[in-house]
Subunit: 204 residues, 2 copies
């Protein structure tokens, strides 16, 4: 089974749209999505770019394009305020959950958290930048808030998020969502059709 | 009949791909493309951005994405060297031809020139930044080189290019190809499907 590395940050509307559809997409094409939350701000900094909304015209356009893209993919979207927000705690909670032993941890548990963070921000308008909120969302999934609060201070959890982010930068990632199949890069939820073609044919 | 304003610069690979398909696309959707060559560099400057290739990761990725996009739209593409290039003379020649009286001038004659400039650069690898080459391409279409060389010095021709560029910036254009249907903006050859939807439904 082919693995598709899927880079996302919880503050990215296009990554949110992708998150709603990529697993079904992957299953349809005989592949598996490897969810890799990362620090998008660090990626922008490395590339010498800025968050979308800091570009006056591109930012204004994007607000329209995000709504259209959400509708195109049949994903509910409410533009949140404030936007964008820092997501460092939520990102660490993802890796903290993934590192848990037993049925509370692992890939699927971490992914369930990622999806609920996205929903909390882009549907319910909650401030996911608040560390308390980021932990409370884990609590809604049955995780012990105190345990999560402690685990996100773990050096290993912090190092994992940094390693994923650094690896993304080294590989060539400059935005989100970003996909890799081996060395083949695909940027944007609007490249899923090309990604599907690549998964099918193995070439371009 | 709906008019779609189509902003392009001769140095933009994505605008080149669009140029190959937009007229057929418009006809299919009961619309007409209004070709508006403009100075993309001025648009970037206004937005605080740079040419694609000046972004290290996005530039490298784009070289892959351009080839894929060309193949997707069944458009022949040979990445030119040097890239990008200045196109100011070729842009002025477009408006010089459009301003000519009789059957040598007008929309269609100008559009034929635009298409041949694109082909000369993105298929034949000619240096369209050379004023001599930009005029020679007009000559290939039966225009008198000396007349064209004289007309591109005309204040009205220069002013027209500036006016189109300034109007684009005022409207919200920040890249190419860029399309407007009334006040509705669409950026990129990858938004033609959404543009088609909009032409059909009149809304989002």
């Amino acid at each position: 089974m082919k693995i598709v590395d899927f880079y996302l940050d919880f503050s990215s509307p296009y990554a949110y749209i992708a998150a709603n559809i990529v697993d079904e997409f992957a299953a349809k094409h005989g592949a598996r999505m490897n969810w890799l939350p990362f620090v998008l701000g660090a990626v922008f900094k490395d590339e010498g770019t800025r968050p979308l909304m800091e570009y006056p015209k591109k930012g204004a356009y994007s607000k329209i394009d995000i709504l259209r893209s959400a509708k195109y993919h049949q994903v509910t979207y409410n533009h949140p305020t404030p936007f964008p927000v820092g997501t460092i705690t939520a990102l660490r909670v993802f890796y903290a959950i993934r590192s848990l032993e037993g049925n509370k941890g692992g890939e699927e548990a971490a992914k369930a958290y990622a999806k609920l963070v996205f929903k909390s921000y882009f549907i319910d308008g909650k401030d996911i930048s608040s560390p308390q909120m980021a932990i409370e969302i884990a609590g809604q999934l049955g995780h012990e808030p105190d345990l999560i609060a402690s685990r996100i201070q773990d050096a290993g959890v912090k190092a994992e998020l940094k390693a994923v982010t650094d690896h993304a930068i080294g590989r060539g990632v400059f935005g989100a969502p970003f996909f890799y199949v081996g060395d083949e890069p695909f940027w944007g939820v609007d490249r899923l059709e090309m990604l599907a073609h690549y998964l099918k044919k193995g070439s371009w």
